[in-house]
Assembly symmetry: C2
Homo-oligomer: 364 residues x 2
DNA sequence: CTGAAAGCGCTTACAG
DNA sequence: CTGAAAGCGCTTACAG
């Protein structure tokens, strides 16, 4: 029943050698793949990653520390970000952190207490700091961190400071695509609900919407743009405002899913069918997008993958600084987004003129 | 600036060999002293301890785990649980896991693929398995795990199998309290939307609702109970059904927040104000509860704390089995829940008779 | 781009 | 009661 006699093997976990054997390479190569070192052939890397996946391999933190001795502490500063976003973000951080032997130190701050929170984090000796929204746009936080010369990654900001690291999607391009999608469906009056003014991603998304309108030669009335600040509450008011317009839009593009969900609620309150009478699309693909009905067509932002990348980037930067190498090659990373089509969009009921495009079977 | 040539030594900390040399014994003897083993002569022990003190020696945790080897792998099997629940659950698992040197292996299954998923997990050599809802109630999964003699913790089930470990809240008592709360507000006709029939927590919550109705001597018409299965979609239908009743309820208690949110949506669609015209309360306190408007009064289930406890429990069990100690003392833990009052409940518009109770300032 | 060797600091399993 | 040997799972430093 027990182990064979001599074996010291206590745990059942697969080791780096198991993976190596499985992939037909040396342990050293596996080590390189785990640590995301660049000098491994793509094909080899793929084989190793496959072996890792099928074996459910996870490196032993103990062995890594003992052997390499590299062990970072990364701070995550956050403040009332959407719970949807933040939990996905955290899962990514924790996951990558355990892979790279980074301990994550979570610190929450309120509006105005950023400085104290940063102070606390630094006293706890973190080697770098992650800034999920909206902190990546906070001048206060950014300044303070820069003054202390601490490596920083801003995640999901529209425009990251030059000196910091960042991981984002191309918000402008994504919003552009979504708006074009709406146009292709046959919509001529497309409303937009903006995000919070203090986040650079908001401006990017708005710009993308405007670019598309211009390219499609559609009306860009100012009244078609309603101000929101990313919360469900603000979406309620903004949607109300848009639907009360003399010439109401046939489609509303909200800068995030919370506000899109609010728009659906307002439409329902007014007896409008979505998407029959009104098309509503969001942005982020948060859990909310697939919880409500109809499920939201939206832009998928791969939050946890971005978080993983952010941790990786930060660890590299810290390492680079230690060896006083030059800085990183690509400090500003762009992650892939995706337009995911679900049940909340359709061609407008009465298409003005325009040739009929792909008309979708009405949902609900 | 760099290390001296040959040395791999990164830290400056004294090692067990330094102590041994200093005390004039072998490292093995030092190890014995550190671990308080009995078979060391008093005089030898004294010398070692002195060396430890003067060198400020502290054993390396990493080396000990590596050599001694307590490091578990815990599997998390999940299947379309609410994203809200699952991400909070995962955060708790990961956090506690890193504290206790447990690696979490996540495996997703679909309806019908439980067995294959378990097979895969075991091939991945996990030492124990966590079962978040609805898997803690899956006979298939439970049987398979039991047959393989793998330690299991079921989380958030209404009734865990005797042989397994479990962490839950008292669903029945919580539902009872919520229903009493509604009664205290002055509601006389209280509707209930059930959870999925295949989850034991659903029956518990329903039972709690009925207990309270009985204790308050309120009508327990069968028509007041509508069937849901925890999804927003099902909540939409159930709420519709309840509000179409000839004698509609003045309050609806949904067995989770998703369905409560759906009920709010239906109420709005019918021009009803919440909580002015209809009180709606939920269960779980998921992120959704504070996203929509009005924010939901609900039962807070401390999911991530429960996950932490579950990991801890499982680790103890695995350890106990290894040393073939007796099983754990308290294999079935009850976590504390909390009724959190927000904006979705109020006294009914026209209280039938009943003395007026604490009337709340109407929200929105 | 890939691998063989040595070693991180400790403990288990044996042998005296 | 004490010690010499081997090995935990990984990484660094070299070598090709």
């Amino acid at each position: 029943m027990k182990e064979s006699r001599g074996s010291r093997r206590q745990r059942n976990a697969p080791t780096i050698s198991d993976v190596a054997r499985h992939a037909g390479v040396s342990p050293m190569t596996v080590s390189r793949v785990i640590n995301a070192e660049s000098n491994v052939r793509a094909e080899t890397r793929r084989r190793v990653q496959e072996a890792i996946a099928t074996l459910h391999y996870a490196p032993s933190a103990a062995a890594r520390t003992l052997a390499g001795g590299e062990e970072f502490r990364l701070g995550v500063l956050h403040t009332n970000s959407s719970l949807f976003y933040f939990s996905e973000f955290l899962v990514g951080c924790l996951d990558q952190g355990s892979r790279q032997n980074c301990t994550m130190v979570i610190e929450k701050c309120e509006e105005g207490t950023e400085l104290a929170a940063i102070e606390h984090l630094l006293r706890g000796r973190v080697d770098g700091v992650l800034l999920p929204p909206p902190l990546g746009d906070s001048a206060t936080a950014l300044e303070a961190l820069r003054a202390r010369d601490v490596p920083v990654v801003a995640v999901s900001t529209g425009r990251a400071p030059e000196w910091a690291l960042s991981v984002s999607i191309d918000d402008r391009k994504a919003a552009y695509e979504m708006t074009r999608h709406l146009g292709a469906l046959g919509h001529r009056r497309i409303g937009f609900i903006t995000g919070a003014a203090n986040q650079t991603a908001s401006a990017e998304r708005l710009a993308g919407y405007r670019d598309a309108l211009a390219d499609m030669a559609l009306a860009a009335d100012e009244e078609l743009v309603a101000e929101g600040w990313f919360t469900y509450r603000s979406g309620l008011d903004a949607a109300e405002q848009l639907l009360e317009l003399a010439e109401a839009p046939s489609a509303v593009f909200a800068a995030n899913d919370d506000m899109a969900a609010a728009t659906v609620a307002i439409a329902h309150r007014r007896g409008l069918d979505v998407p029959g009478d009104l098309t509503v699309v969001g942005f982020d693909d948060s859990a909310l997008a697939t919880t409500i009905w109809p499920e939201l067509t939206t832009i998928r932002q791969p939050v946890s993958a971005m978080a993983r990348t952010a941790v990786d980037l930060l660890a590299r930067e810290i390492r680079a600084r230690k060896t006083s190498d030059a800085g990183l090659d690509h400090p500003h990373l762009l992650a892939d987004y995706q337009l995911v089509r679900r049940q909340s969009d359709a061609a407008p009921r009465r298409r003005p003129n325009a040739a009929p495009r792909r008309v979708q079977a009405g949902a609900v």
